[in-house]
Amino acid sequence: MGFEIDDSRPIFVQIAEKIEDDIMEKRLPEEAQVPSTNQFAAFYHINPATAAKGVNLLVDQGILYKKRGIGMFVAEGARGVLMEKRKTEFYEQYVITMIREAEKLGITTDQLTDMIRSGGKR
């Protein structure tokens, strides 16, 4: 995930992804406070309302929660939830694509399994 915000995808989605990455990489451990929307706005040079929308996306999913008057925090178990979500995405984006491409090239399931095994050892 790059440091820059790109202008061809909704920015609130990119903010949510950046927070997810920080949680996955343990830069934001569970129960840690997430930067405020104004801090996100200043750092990424974006509209604070857009930053708030990204944060709220994760609140809706139970990844973050709000402590009234203090700010946003990473929920307990958030990393596990994200891990499951990313596994599903991994299956859909990489595994399915790989199997389709393998079929096109006439690679059998056994050959593909062997490739994965030997690839993993490298």
Binding site: D6, D7, R9, P10, I11, A41, A42, A49, T50, K53
Partner: protein
């Protein structure tokens, strides 16, 4: 109930036989940053002049904070309009400009104004006549920000400002807006520079309202496919094409609509390359008039 800072209803402005603004309606919610976009001569400035009661509508209605702004002191003092090539009397020093502004705007913050003067390195005692184009623009920006006006309008306020000073303006704007939310209209051609600051886009083309949408909803709204002419032509059948550009035996087509996963796999099978379209590219494609008709026929 939503609080509207600006309500424009069927606004029309004609100069003789020329219709500069035609039947434009939109509402701006309080405390959002709006991007007012469009080509030169699209009618943006004319609309802003009508919002601020500097020009009269031929027909239609303008309401600012729920009231008619015409000769309405209560409403007008809540508006700060910073124009392209802002003009102050030649003999005014920057200091005098601040003094006058303090008298006009009820929410004026003198301390903040002086901090901004330092940020932009403006000479307080120099007269307008002796300021460079960039300094004049910076002085306008200082007034616009320090006015903290509930409706602040910047009409291409960056003439003569270098990239560093423009970057400073954007940073200060976001920082101060976060602390003191207010309705801001930013009219600009430098879309790439400001698009991340904008929450909502109003796009004016040939005097008409072309788009009125959330900025984030527009991102990812269009995409470009490039590949051999025949493949691209078959791929775009039944799709809304907003731009076509042939190159040798290749064709590049910009398509309006979100990229569906089946389209993505179809493009991959056909060997087409897909690239995203930025907000600025989208606006350029949508307002490039000479192509509209050609593309329309191909649909």
């Amino acid at each position: 109930m939503i609080n509207y800072a600006v309500e424009v209803n069927r606004l029309t402005k004609s100069f003789g036989t020329v219709t500069a603004v035609q039947d434009v309606s939109f509402k701006l919610e309080s405390n959002k940053i709006y991007g007012f976009l469009g080509r030169n001569g699209a009618g943006k400035t004319t609309i802003m002049q009508m919002l601020t009661s500097q020009s009269f509508a031929s027909s239609g209605e303008v309401k600012i904070f729920g009231e008619d702004p015409y000769e309405n002191y209560n409403v007008l003092r809540q508006i700060c309009f910073i124009k392209e090539s802002q003009k102050y009397p030649d003999s005014f020093r920057i200091k005098d400009v601040l003094k006058v502004s303090e008298g006009i705007f009820p929410d004026w913050d003198e301390e903040y104004a002086l901090k901004l003067i330092e940020d932009f390195q403006l000479p307080l005692n120099r007269t307008m006549k002796k300021l460079s184009r960039g300094m004049l623009s910076a002085a306008g920006i200082v007034v616009g920000l320090a006015s903290r006006a509930p409706l602040t309008i910047f009409d291409e306020p960056y003439l003569g400002l270098d990239a560093v000073a423009r970057g400073l303006f954007y940073d200060l704007l976001i920082e101060d807006y976060a602390m003191h939310p207010r309705t801001i209209i930013l009219s600009t051609h430098l879309i790439d520079e400001v698009s991340k600051l904008l929450e909502h886009i109003i796009l004016i083309d040939k005097g008409r309202l072309l788009l009125n949408e959330d900025a984030d909803a527009l991102r990812g709204r269009a995409y470009t496919v490039v590949g051999s002419t025949s493949s691209v032509q078959s791929f775009i059948t039944g799709k809304e094409v907003i731009h076509l550009e042939p190159f040798v035996s290749m064709l590049s087509a910009t398509i309006m609509g979100a990229l569906k996963s089946e389209d993505r796999s179809l493009a991959a099978e056909m060997g087409l390359e897909i690239s995203p379209v930025s907000l600025q590219q989208l606006v350029v494609h949508m307002t490039k008039s000479n192509l509209d008709e050609k593309v329309g026929n191909g649909r």
